[in-house]
């Protein structure tokens, strides 16, 4: 088999019918361009949703699960198959959300491999009073430098600053929506009451916005010692430990490891954000189904054109065979045409796909000032382009192979005799 010669013949055939070649090529181009745009955009959306969820939530959260369900003393001591224990109205046990030795744990975890940052928190439900109005929310006592490393708090600030928490022991940073409801601004005072009855008046030193309603509506930050003071707890009282990893995917296993090591309840981001992960899977499947459909349609286009090509070239195939070209040469001539169409169409598709993706990525997209999105989220990844080209070439090879085989099986005698 002489590939170079087959290539030459294939090239001549393609150039002789430029318009037909172009139409076949554009089929692939369109399929691949759409594939690139779809996958870049969908992955961009996935990334954005994941980021916005991950930005505001820890990769692993350690906390003490307060559970009112517990086996009765009777059940613990007397169990048998022949009798049933009945205990009416068992009261829950006094249980604190405190993590035992929380601060030591923070120091230990900080030294572990793959950990980006650890931040201890004291969180509590709270009622904010402004005059006669009471609004419920949650209060988080944080160690500002650590928490800032995890969530980049400084970038979320709308007015005032988080740093003021370090200098002002009675300072509080309030969520933007909550501040609006309370009608407070930086410098105003707000009175905070906890469910256990503690009360403290704090001064607003900052207002933040994550762009996530459930946070901006209810959350406020203050220093750990302030919350401990309201709750009437000692300085080692910690309710939550937030951990960020260098790679979010590591967190899933890391949470299990911690749970075993410290015998404490942990929750990873995957469990906390199952809807986002499920949505991501669904979007991925959708993207691939639509892209594949486009490519298959393009493949059928090529199949049709190659089939017609073979039928138009029956005479030429007979001559080639008569003058000594084997069936492999004939397959090569027609398969190479399909591959050339696939590669050129594919490359053009990548280019156009990139162009459209780029245009999309700079198109302004109005979402309101809460969300940090100014344009459509688009992800540019080399692997999508490689994948697109590979799919395009594979489709065209499949679409070109069957007509080529048909061409190779043609009996030259039947055609030459007329």
């Amino acid at each position: 088999m002489n590939l170079k010669l087959s290539f030459q013949i294939a090239k001549t055939h393609l150039l002789a019918k430029k318009r037909q070649t172009l139409v076949a090529m554009l089929g692939v181009t369109f399929g691949i361009a759409m594939f690139i745009v779809m996958i870049s955009f969908m992955q961009g959306v996935n990334q954005f949703l994941e980021d916005s969820a991950l930005d505001a939530s820890p990769h692993v959260r350690i906390y003490n699960e307060v559970n009112t369900q517990r086996p009765s003393i009777l059940d613990q001591n007397r169990t048998s198959d022949s009798s049933v224990n009945v205990v009416y109205h068992q009261k829950p046990k006094q249980q604190l959300p405190r993590i035992k030795n929380g601060l030591q744990m923070v120091r230990l975890i900080e030294k572990m491999k793959g950990v980006l940052g650890v931040s201890p928190e004291v969180s509590s439900q709270a009622f904010f009073n402004n005059g006669p109005i009471q609004i419920s929310g949650s209060m988080a006592g944080i160690d500002y430098p650590r928490e800032n490393r995890l969530y980049n708090l400084d970038s979320r600030i709308k007015s005032g600053s988080f740093q003021a928490l370090l200098t002002n022991p009675k300072g509080i940073v309030v969520g933007a929506n909550l501040a609006k409801k309370l009608n407070v601004n930086v410098g105003d005072k707000v009175s905070v009451t906890t469910p256990t009855g503690g009360n403290l008046t704090l001064r607003v030193v900052g207002i933040f916005g994550f762009g996530i309603g459930t946070i901006d509506n209810i959350r406020c930050y203050t220093s750990i010692s302030t919350v401990q003071e309201i709750l009437g707890k000692d300085a080692s009282y910690i309710t939550d430990i937030h951990i960020k990893m260098t790679d979010p995917l590591l967190a899933l296993d890391f949470a299990q490891t911690l749970q075993k090591q410290f015998d404490i309840h942990t929750e990873d981001w995957g469990t906390a954000n199952q809807a986002i992960l499920a949505g991501k899977k669904i979007r991925n499947v959708m993207t691939f189904v639509i892209s594949m459909t486009l490519l298959v349609v393009a493949g059928f286009g090529i199949y049709n054109i190659m089939n017609m090509n073979v039928i138009n070239k029956l005479k030429d195939i007979a001559i080639l065979k008569a003058t000594g070209f084997g069936s492999k040469d004939v397959v090569a001539v027609f398969l190479l045409q399909a591959i050339i169409i696939g590669i050129l169409g594919g490359l053009l598709g990548l280019l156009i796909g990139f162009g459209i993706s780029y245009a999309l990525s700079i198109t302004p997209f109005e979402t309101g000032d809460m969300i940090s999105l100014k344009t459509f989220p688009v992800l540019f990844e080399t692997q999508y382009y490689l994948m697109g080209l590979a799919f395009g070439v594979i489709t065209t090879i499949l679409a070109g192979y069957f007509p080529s085989r048909k061409a190779a099986k043609i009996d030259p005698v039947a055609i030459l005799r007329g």
Partner: protein
């Protein structure tokens, strides 16, 4: 020396019903011979030629060319054999329309791959000179007249210096002048180059000018 021998060739057509086209055909062809096969339409002469050409492999009997037994060989081996040892000229000129005259002539040699591209081009020009077509070498083959195309087809058949050149009514579609031209070229090839020529023809002048005539009737050789 025999360059081709066919012995006990039987061939059947099965469509629309079983019919024996060739009945026990036996003959030999010597090197350098200019042979014509004649006979009425449907006598099986074209069928015989395509068996000799190795393109039709569905027959009974034994075919040897250049001392090599060809019966029963796989298609691709036969294609390679045709490429090197056989040349074809058909009634309809059958050039590849997208290629130039020169490319058409060069293709079988490029396939053989015995010479470099430059040498092949030189050889192609040499063959085109033989058929007096050098000035058209760079033209698209579809732009030529029928007679010109047939001469190019002959040049293509000659490019690999085959032992045998086969023609299926090579003058069947040509006027008197062009027929004469083609005949002269064939004569020259067989007498000067010592290449064997086997043609099927209806043209009595063409047949009478050849070295030997085989006449067929109803699938048998009746005169040779």
């Amino acid at each position: 020396m025999n360059v081709l021998s066919a012995s006990h060739i039987n061939k059947y057509f099965f469509e629309p019903e079983k019919f024996q086209v060739l009945q026990d055909v036996n003959f030999e062809v010597k090197k350098g011979e200019f042979l014509s096969i004649i006979g009425k339409s449907g006598c099986g002469k074209s069928t015989l030629l395509y068996i000799l050409s190795t393109m039709d492999t569905d027959y009974e009997g034994l075919l040897e060319v250049n001392g090599q037994r060809l019966t029963g060989l796989p298609q691709d081996t036969l294609a390679a054999f045709r490429n090197e040892h056989l040349g074809f000229v058909f009634q309809f000129h059958f050039l590849l329309p997208e290629f130039t005259v020169l490319q058409n002539v060069m293709l079988p040699a490029l396939k053989l791959g015995k010479y470099s591209n430059k040498e092949i081009e030189e050889r192609a020009y040499e063959k085109l000179r033989l058929v007096n077509m050098t000035e058209h070498a760079r033209k698209q083959s579809s732009k030529l007249s029928g007679g010109q195309q047939q001469r190019v087809a002959i040049a293509r058949a000659l490019i690999n210096d085959p032992a045998i050149i086969m023609g299926d009514e090579p003058t069947g579609n040509l006027d008197k002048a062009n027929s004469g031209l083609v005949f002269d070229i064939f004569r020259q090839i067989s007498h000067e180059n010592g290449q064997t020529i086997i043609t099927v023809t209806h043209d009595p002048d063409f047949a009478n000018g050849s070295d030997r005539i085989i006449e067929m009737s109803d699938g048998r050789i009746v005169r040779h």
